[in-house]
Subunit: 323 residues, 2 copies
């Protein structure tokens, strides 16, 4: 299967060869949308191509003027049948855009709607061929086609290392995750906080893991925004879970953390600086840490779900009714 | 003072004449950042110039590669002394960018750091010369310089009407705002919801009015994201305050609203479709409704503050310590 996945990426990348794009639109919903966050950060940092992440119906109902047949469109849906994302993908392909989708389901509606599909594995699947890994293979591949750079080649080379780096870093935080779940199982609200390429993890942890899968109130706070409103909510009994950057915006997190720790007794940090990143060079470390954060943080959700007797798979509306 | 303000805008706009920009960066924090939201939506809809809104320190610590001396930089700080925003403005000016700031304080540090300053009034000041109005004068003025269009000219012409439209629409919702404050005064958490050019209002209502000024837990949910995670938090006793679009993304709000109203007994809507917009033509109505939403919604915050005996001016950290 890995060979097929690599071939899918290669074919997708081949279609951008020699093309000149005016922008990249990454379109998806919820957790899939948040997966695109670090990719947007990478485009912002490494390329002068405008890169946007939009929730699918925002794209469907108010297409930006900058969106043209010269736009590159990346979409993602785990099931491959999210109607808004299928619609966006089809509209982009019909308009003549290069459209590439990521999905856990080959030949899904999404797959049919796109020019190219890239499969990713899930759960116990090798994380070097999981969602974020396949996205990175595609993004660094596209960047290298558009403007070749040895850094992009190195980045692609390192992706295979996720197979060992992900379990290593999960182990590093396993005990802390177990303790966090017990300590927080009676909390009615838990805030998440992050910045830069880690902010999307704070968002998806809040809306998917806590609100959707645990029915615990939550909100993701950007560390840079914390002092401009949200910090007034801080109190001794208000819990925060921070996904701390090892990249350029670490100072923002550190400053917010110093304050939060002073006035709340319930601040937890998952510090990417602690991650074991093997032989990934410094200029690429934070990009990789941002996607290793997801499986590491997932353990915190697994733990709280276990302690609350509320499996992450439970839903009251999703899959149970039409909406 | 109005004449001076118009002159400031005119001088700022004059500096973009004949220039070719690669992008617009709108940089600020908290409520000031959220003021730029509708402007970003307008750039997205009316121009092929990439337009970004960034919290100031995100800009300071990880300048995007696309940011160059050919970028147009708009910044905003009410007091004119937000350190992150002053720093961003100074850095942009030093780099050779055209930098224009909005502030309630003439000759503030921010004012000194920018090429051009535009003053806006506050509180009882004529809303046609308030923050959003001055921003719109600038944005439509810039758009019209870069690519003349009668729609932009019409938009500028309508801004004066805010003087009467704002109080009219405030009156329209005054009784409902008063009732909402009483009904919600014991709520520990209140969610806000919106989409499109109204989403920034949901964000600022959550982080500035509820979290900062009322110490009430909150989070802003994008209506398009609601069904992809957040909706599972919906329950009979979970309150939502929706800022409903009369523009292109109204369908997203309507769909989220239909669901929320079915499973929560505490859904409140401020529907921009009800706004009296005088003789503003349909193609411009939603742009104006999005900024009229702010003073209309503010009444809901005034009311809950009054019923809770917790004035909007109270802070426990801001202005009371170094951080």
């Amino acid at each position: 299967m890995y060979a097929l996945q690599l071939q899918q990426v290669e074919e997708a990348i081949k279609t951008v060869r020699g093309k000149k794009f005016n922008a990249v639109y990454m379109i998806a919903c919820g957790g899939s949308k948040s997966t695109f966050g670090p990719a947007q950060y990478i485009f912002d940092s490494e390329s002068d191509l405008p890169a946007y992440v939009l929730t699918s119906n925002e794209f469907n109902y108010r297409k930006p003027k900058q969106f043209t047949p010269q736009s590159l469109v990346l979409t993602c849906s785990h099931s491959g049948n999210t109607p808004e994302t299928v619609q966006a993908t089809q509209a982009a392909k019909d308009m003549g855009c290069v459209t590439i989708c990521l999905s856990n389901k080959i030949d899904s509606e999404l797959w049919q709607a796109a020019n190219h599909g890239v499969y990713y594995g899930w759960g116990d699947y090798n994380p070097a061929y999981g969602k974020s890994a396949m996205l990175y293979r595609m993004v660094f591949g596209v960047l290298n086609e558009l403007s070749p750079n040895e850094r992009f080649v190195r980045a692609i080379k390192h992706i295979d290392a996720l197979e060992t780096l992900v379990p290593k870093n999960k182990d590093l935080f396993a005990q802390r995750a177990a303790a966090w779940g017990k300590e927080h199982k009676r909390e009615p609200i838990i805030y998440t906080m992050a910045s830069g390429e880690y902010y999307p993890e704070a968002y998806s942890f809040a809306v998917c893991l806590l609100m959707e899968m645990q029915w615990i109130h939550s909100s993701s706070i950007h560390s840079g925004e914390y002092f401009h409103g949200p910090f007034e909510i801080t109190d001794y009994d208000v819990p925060f879970l921070m996904f701390m950057s090892r990249g350029k915006t670490r100072y923002l997190d550190q400053r917010a953390l110093n304050f939060a720790q002073k006035y709340s007794d319930k601040v937890t940090v998952i510090d990417a600086q602690e991650f074991n990143l093997g032989d990934i060079e410094e200029d690429l470390q934070s990009y990789f840490a941002a996607i290793i954060m997801t499986p590491v943080a997932r353990q915190y959700a697994d733990s709280i779900a276990d302690h609350r007797g509320h499996p992450l798979s439970v839903r009251r509306y999703m899959w149970r009714m039409e909406y």
